[in-house]
Symmetry: C2
Subunit: 208 residues, 2 copies
């Protein structure tokens, strides 16, 4: 290395250090400003892959701190899923309920769908009223709102009235403006591309 390039490299390292110091100050200030401690309401929406898997990632995040977790799956349950297999086999402490009727285009019976979604909502609501639960997952709840199978105000009011320390994760496309307003964090998972469209079959361990 020449003396010239050596001093260039020192300058580069110094510039990097200064830039990163500024970045660190900014990050530290943001962390210091966020000091309210309470449960979070999170909505994972959008047409892309990763909403249910993200909710289940948070299940294991919570289990890593010995928290109490309840899961209600609207729609899902008619088909096998790896994450539910795992929970049923290894995590008996997790409460899980699946509506289990499949997508509404499978049942093709609106009256039966409404009845099933109302019964499932009763169970969801009991979790949202139970302060022993640290984390409640309401997987694919948004479709029940989109199809008007559940009353939007009832759902929103139950989320708002849940215990102060309880976090809730809602997943599914859509959900509407009123639901977004009541949630603390909203991520919109956009589909940029999907293997499925290129003819690749849904994969156990990734897709189901």
């Amino acid at each position: 290395m020449t003396e010239h390039s050596n001093s260039d490299s020192k300058l580069d390292a110094q510039l990097h250090k200064e830039k990163m110091q500024k970045q660190k100050e900014k990050v530290d200030a943001n962390i210091a400003a966020a000091n309210i401690e309470r449960g979070i309401a999170l909505l994972l929406t959008g047409n892309g892959k990763g909403k249910t898997s993200s909710a289940f990632g948070m299940v294991f995040r919570a289990l890593g701190y010995q928290q109490k977790v309840g899961i209600v799956q609207f729609i899902k349950g008619a088909q096998e899923s790896g994450e539910v297999n795992f929970i049923r086999e290894h995590c008996p402490q997790v409460f899980i309920h699946q509506m289990g009727t499949g997508f509404t285009w499978n049942t093709q019976d609106k009256v039966a769908d409404i009845k099933a979604s109302e019964a499932t909502w009763e169970i969801a609501q009991s979790l949202l009223q139970d302060d022993s639960y640290d984390l409640v997952i309401l997987d694919e709840l948004t479709y029940m709102l989109g199809y008007k199978y559940l009353d939007r105000d009832t759902v929103i009011n139950s989320i708002k009235a849940r215990p102060y320390e309880q976090s809730v994760v809602v997943t599914g496309r859509g959900g509407g403006r009123e639901l977004r307003e009541v949630m603390d964090t909203v991520s919109d998972v956009k589909n940029i591309k999907h293997a499925y469209k290129a003819g690749v079959k849904a994969r156990k361990g990734v897709d189901c």
Copy 2:
């Protein structure tokens, strides 16, 4: 119920059934068309919450089918995380390696960061060459590309050359056009809003 509203309700049920039948035919045709069986390369990118948790949801999805899983975390590891606690305590069959230096604005040392990311990449690459792994998670790999700590072509070629049946999940903001091109599925997790900005502290079991 009057006779009139009763017939309205029958008509509504019939229309619903027809609409759902059409939807089912469409879904069934798409499923039939997707018949290539191989591992999937998935990129979870964007500035919103849910990328790492989604990758870990897939870890448990895979474990629910007794698949073999390897995880390499670039950046993460300096701070505690619930999902890693859970894996270390309950899933000894999962290979996990963390770079563990924290974000680059914490170290403020470019030369040390490059060295750490290269050593971590060696481990990632060994998983991408091992066909006993069904699923490989490369958490926050994109930042190593963004900072040019790793060579983009080396990374992309390793992902392309991995075993045919192996799935790989890459997470992190950015990553670049070339990486997106090589991935089968790309989800862009957009931040609509975040509790953090409203002053709510990061929550164990949800955020970390």
